[in-house]
């Protein structure tokens, strides 16, 4: 199996999808000949032609609106929003249109062929407009699916599933680890199920839940904790909407403790939703309060990025506090 990075895995998924189904169309800013600012669509225009892989004007609402119509017509639209920070001009098209398209028509029409890919997250010295993690806004919208991979293998398998899923999907790509995250990825066409979390490492004392680039921090913190004799169960959520509450609840029932970590600000972040559900389901199993290790309730900083981000040290401290509560 070839070793490729997460970005190459995204490219491989798009290539695989376009090769397997001539209805698949990729569009977005600079994604044509140039191959996208991160090169996620590299060589796709050359291979599949300008009609199926093309540049759009700089208009996020136009890209998403166009893609909804394209999907409603029967094509499979894979739109790229260059940075998740720039998805907001398309918020109305995503929240009021894509998410409600099937419902409002009584299933006469749908735009399930729509997938929106967008790089998210900090760690690249991007400041407040190239670092945000806006997943929680979209998790609050019934009708959407929200997917975030953390490994190259997941990126290809989950993206292929997202593209072929009958509902519109927002696929957030952890750009900080686009190149750093390398793994075995089959050349073949494979799918990983949406809505299913992955127990990455099993443990008995505490459950750590995260997604995307944050998984690295959780793994590192778990290793530190292991040296102190604390056994962590690490869960990668993979899909945030709909999220796999069963897997998390099962784990917390066993460990009695839960830490959830995300880069986004704490208030209204998705960790709150997980915490609320798990305290309902696992109240009698809990040995300590559920803890959130998140970004601060500020805009994303530039020079204080390191301080802001919920890193492995913050998680490690939270693990100790939870275990010794």
């Amino acid at each position: 199996m070839p070793k490729i990075n997460l970005l190459q895995a995204v490219n491989s998924a798009l290539d695989t999808a376009m090769d397997a189904d001539s209805r698949v169309v990729c569009l977005g800013e600079d994604i044509g000949e140039f191959g996208g600012v991160f090169r996620a669509t590299s060589k796709l225009q050359e291979k599949y032609g300008k009609q199926r892989c093309f540049n759009t004007p700089i208009t996020e609402q136009g890209i998403v609106g166009f893609s909804i119509g394209l999907a409603a017509q029967g094509s499979v639209a894979v739109a790229e929003i260059q940075f998740a920070d720039y998805i907001f001009p398309a918020f109305d098209q995503i929240v009021n249109e894509a998410a409600k398209f099937r419902y409002r028509s009584g299933d006469q029409f749908n735009c399930g062929g729509l997938t929106i890919r967008t790089p998210y997250g900090g760690g690249i010295a991007g400041g407040l407009y190239h670092s945000q993690s806006p997943e929680a806004y979209f998790c609050h919208t019934p009708g959407l699916k929200v997917v975030i991979p953390s490994t190259a293998y997941q990126a290809k398998g989950l993206l292929l599933s997202a593209i072929r899923d009958p509902d519109p999907v927002i696929f957030f790509e952890p750009k900080a680890i686009y190149r750093a995250e390398v793994g075995d990825v089959p050349d073949t066409d494979y799918e990983l199920p949406l809505g299913v979390a992955q127990v990455v490492s099993t443990g008995t004392d505490i459950t750590l839940v995260g997604w995307g680039a944050q998984m690295h921090q959780l793994h590192r913190a778990a290793k530190m904790a292991a040296k102190d004799g604390i056994s962590c169960e690490v869960i990668d959520l993979c899909t945030l909407l709909p999220w796999d509450a069963d897997t998390v609840a099962k784990s917390v029932t066993k460990t009695g403790r839960l830490i959830i970590s995300h880069e986004a600000p704490r208030t209204g972040g998705f960790a709150g939703e997980i915490a609320a559900t798990i305290q309902e389901r696992c109240f009698l199993s809990l040995e300590s309060p559920i803890t959130r290790i998140t970004g601060l309730d500020t805009p994303f900083p530039l020079v204080f990025e390191k301080e802001y981000l919920p890193d492995y040290l913050k998680v490690f401290e939270a693990i100790k506090a939870s275990v010794h509560f």
Partner: protein, 401 residues
């Protein structure tokens, strides 16, 4: 890039008046072809279908406003005054072309074949409503008639129409999309996004903008300063035409050419129909607070239906007797449909959670089960007909598992 032939040493700003767009007009107020104009080709069958559907919608609107006042409907929006803009344009398109409309174009849906009962099912949110009782009255949609379900959000259908048309072009079946909106919606960002992306992607889509003078209470002078909407199309590199929207022949002729252009040249086209919203914005609006009865009367004199009738009478294709008979039949048919369809049940409760996703996910099914258990405790409060129990209301959620 600068065109060398257009380099000048004269410092001069270009203004809207330097690039005026004229209005295509073929019929005078008496329904006669204007001097110097040529009558466009339109067969008798099509002309009479257009005329009948314009009248149908006029009657439907009158009756539904009445029904709303009687409390039989919660809300209604009329097409009154703009029937020629809508029917004249949609009649130039193939039934296979997609219609993506705003909300004041139900005359186009009628032209496609929507029946009185279908209108009532939607307006009354009953069990036969194609939208399963989810949207306010007038948010129609029909897959069978290639009429995209309407959403209240303004202008969102414009970039979507571009994408839909791009897909039609890719499938190579010589169909296109007709997209309606009003001059007020053209202030939304989606208008600009949609026109530009349609032009750049060479999408076979015809934008029909109904410039009817008002966006709820806001007159066009407070909506924009430029010369209407058509010049904006030119600005985006889109062929544009402005027509007298109360002149059925002008609207139809321009629309026929617009569709030809869209398909043959694979380009978006914009048609601006100049008309007037004779009715209120909706049943929740009262226009007397922002416009005069003199202004309304002036436009009533330009009624597109009256003008077309005169033209048809002049051609000997129609008679006053047929006119009376037609209107009576429509009244009867519509009131009959209202009466029969309002007796129907509401949709089953399962439609609270169906179609959010193709298959309801586990968390939604769980929420639904909790709701059903709660309803079981207070059936009198929730069930529309408690004596019939749940059978009249919902089926078991098991169908989703």
């Amino acid at each position: 890039m600068v065109d060398k032939n257009l380099v000048t040493s004269v410092l001069k700003f270009t203004e809207a008046k330097d690039m005026p767009i004229s209005t295509l007009s073929l019929l005078n107020a008496d329904g006669e072809i204007l001097e110097g104009a040529q009558e466009p080709k339109i067969d008798k069958h099509t002309a009479l279908k257009i005329y009948r559907d314009m009248n149908y919608i006029r009657v439907l609107d009158e009756r539904m406003i009445g029904a709303q006042r009687q409390g039989r409907l919660s809300f209604y929006v009329t097409c009154t005054g703009e029937e020629a803009s809508v029917v004249g344009s949609v009649a130039a398109f193939s039934s296979q072309d997609m219609v993506m409309s705003q909300y004041r174009e139900h005359a186009a849906l009628r032209y496609r074949g929507f029946t009185s009962k279908q209108f009532m099912n939607q307006l009354l949110s009953n069990d036969l409503d194609l939208g399963k009782g989810r949207q306010m009255p007038i948010h129609y949609g029909s897959r069978d008639l290639n009429y995209m379900t309407i959403s209240s959000t303004l202008a969102t259908q414009i970039p979507q129409a571009a994408g839909y048309a791009y897909g039609q072009k890719l499938s190579g079946n010589d169909t296109c999309t007709i997209c309606y909106f009003g001059e007020g919606a053209a202030s939304e960002g989606d208008f600009h996004a949609g026109l530009n992306i349609a032009a750049v992607s060479k999408c076979p889509v015809v934008f029909v903008v109904r410039n009817n003078g008002y966006a709820i209470s806001t007159p066009t002078v407070e909506q924009f300063v430029g010369d209407g909407i058509a010049p904006r199309g030119v600005g985006y590199g889109i062929p544009a035409i402005r027509v007298d929207g109360n002149d059925i022949l002008a609207v139809h002729a321009a629309s026929v050419e617009a569709r030809n252009l869209a398909i043959e040249k694979s380009t978006p086209v914009i048609v601006e129909t100049m008309s007037y919203r004779l009715g209120a914005h909706s049943t929740s609006d009262d226009p007397t607070s922002y416009r005069t009865s003199e202004e309304e009367e002036m436009w009533r004199q330009k009624d597109p239906i009256e003008r077309m009738k005169k033209w048809l009478l002049g051609k000997g294709w129609w008679s006053d007797q047929q006119d009376h008979q037609m209107k009576d039949e429509y009244k009867k048919e519509i009131l009959g449909a209202l009466k029969s369809q309002e007796k129907r049940q509401p949709p089953v409760l399962d439609h609270l959670i169906s179609d959010v996703y193709q298959i309801p996910p586990a968390h939604l099914r769980e929420q639904y089960s909790e709701l059903l258990a709660h309803i079981d405790k207070y059936p009198d409060h929730y069930l529309p007909n408690p004596t019939k129990g749940h059978d009249s209301y919902h089926k078991p959620a098991a169908q989703f598992s």
